[in-house]
Symmetry: C2
């Protein structure tokens, strides 16, 4: 049996198709042998194998590599991506007859731990809080650079999620445009009666799709879920952007992300996953959220053709499995 579900407030659809009646173990894929660790450029001690850092977090200080000295014994290290999708070295494109702009922007890697093999689920309260502060700092930093309209912050973990290196890291890409998909969402929010996310949270908190709440955040398996075991994390009280989170909120935010990842590992045996931050800084009507997608299926021709995602796990089951009873 299947359902065609419409997004809470956007003109988007997904198909919840449970014909195969899958259990979490049906989603677990064979693990691929891990590559050798010895040459990892993100490991402590290999600071000379990456471009110089843009920011290094160490015992409460924010430092930076210099030509004379690379910062050692760091906790979190931010470096330019060696193969940037956009960069400040971009050049004017050749006239082609079609609309184009130079690939201007910033592409940074946030190395989340000096130690290889760690996962966020094992972070201490202080470690996860520091990481959230780094996220906020770096997004803030790039947001106020000239000609930057949007800063995309996301994490790819595992090969199936597009991570080319195993050592935990997140990435940040600062763009000269607001992505149209966010513009459309913004338009829909402006057209709505009140914040549709606040409205959604109010209803979903009482539903079987509610997973967990802590001081400031909720984790929900959204009614409109494009991929199996999708989870949205949202602040309970309206905040538009990560930059506007207080230190206390960040602690609560990090704790919730860690909880969701921990449950993914327990229930789905360390799946590859992506999580992405959504926010529009110069628009108070937007409602900050993070979307977590473990990679358990392969979007194929149908999804590309229609932009409608077939999801073989119901959000209701997802919440049931991820909740701690």
């Amino acid at each position: 049996m299947s359902e065609i579900r419409k997004h809470y407030f956007l003109d988007e659809y997904c198909i919840i198709a449970t014909e195969r009646g899958k259990r979490p173990s049906d989603f677990v894929s064979k693990k691929i042998e891990k590559p050798s660790v010895s040459n990892c450029v993100f490991c402590a001690g290999n600071e000379d194998k990456t471009p110089p850092s843009t920011a290094v977090y160490k015992k409460g200080d924010i430092l930076k590599d210099t030509e004379e000295e690379l910062v050692k014994d760091w906790e979190v290290r931010c470096i330019p991506n060696l193969y940037p999708a956009v960069s400040t070295r971009s050049v004017k494109p050749v006239l082609s007859g079609w609309e184009v702009q130079e690939g201007f922007g910033f592409h940074e890697v946030i190395v989340e731990s000096p130690t290889h093999g760690r996962t966020l689920s094992s972070f201490s309260d202080d470690e996860i809080e520091l990481l959230m502060k780094v996220y906020r700092d770096r997004v803030h930093y790039y947001h106020f650079k000239e000609n930057i309209q949007y800063v995309s912050l996301f994490k790819n973990w595992g090969e199936r999620a597009g991570a080319s290196l195993e050592h935990i890291h997140s990435q940040l890409i600062a763009l000269p445009i607001l992505p149209p998909v966010l513009k459309r969402e913004q338009d829909a929010i402006h057209a709505a009666d009140g914040c549709p996310y606040c409205n959604m949270i109010e209803k979903e908190r009482k539903s079987e799709r509610m997973i967990r709440e802590n001081n400031d955040f909720v984790a929900i398996a959204p009614y409109f879920s494009k991929s199996p075991f999708e989870v949205w994390i949202l602040p309970k009280h309206h905040v538009n952007h990560l930059i506007n989170c207080t230190a206390e909120m960040l602690r609560s935010f990090g704790e919730m992300i860690r909880f969701v990842l921990f449950r993914y590992e327990e229930i789905l045996d360390f799946p590859s996953y992506n999580y992405m931050f959504y926010g529009i800084f110069d628009d108070d009507s937007y409602h900050l959220n993070v979307r977590c997608h473990p990679i358990l299926s392969t979007p194929a021709g149908f999804e590309k053709n229609t932009d409608i995602y077939i999801n073989t796990a119901t959000p209701e089951d997802t919440a049931m499995y991820l909740k701690c009873e």
Copy 2:
């Protein structure tokens, strides 16, 4: 260096990022060992291992399995998908407080050859022409079923493209809605001055992105390419939908699809791929097209966050490699 390219006529962007200067061989991935063939349910002789066919093509006739007899010695065999994304057996969803409709529709598999291990690139002229006729027939058949608004026709080949079975097949999903992504495209076409696809073909034919033309079709590496080695195949003269292709056009269409797949195999060593048919049957202003995506990269957090695709192969290089000199 990279460029942010806008779609020909939609509010969509992609990033062409060639920092790594990849050659086709850099995209070739390690082949995964093929599973055993012996139990393939799509092979000739195993007709009893699938649901009864909805249509079987055999020596110019269109037949159908009956309770008494399963058609043998077929050329192309259409069967219901055993795990349908949508179906006529769907039931009214439970009231949830959110917008939903039953997952009504049809999900069919088109088994393209009785023989395991064949690929479309090895099809004879007659075989590929027959397949295109089957495509047209089946899309036509479902388009006129009650409450069907769109028929998605696509092919997933290889594990990375989401194919769960190795034996060549395409799929068709008939939906009770026009997918919003196509509605947006339709709106943009209506707002344009003349057919933007005709305009695009006229300009791209003279460009370095032109790959090949035959009697009725062109193959282009589009200026706006979301994925490496993306190719669009379009009729040179305006036709809105596969259903409206003449027999002669179908021959030319199939020949062009076969050519592109053959070149993928040669240049990229049998990559997984998807191809998808785009058309709006009840709107003459739409321009039929097929988009071919070999799977050479993994869309990750950034793509999910922004719907902007980073493509590490330029369309200009793609055309150069795929062209036969």
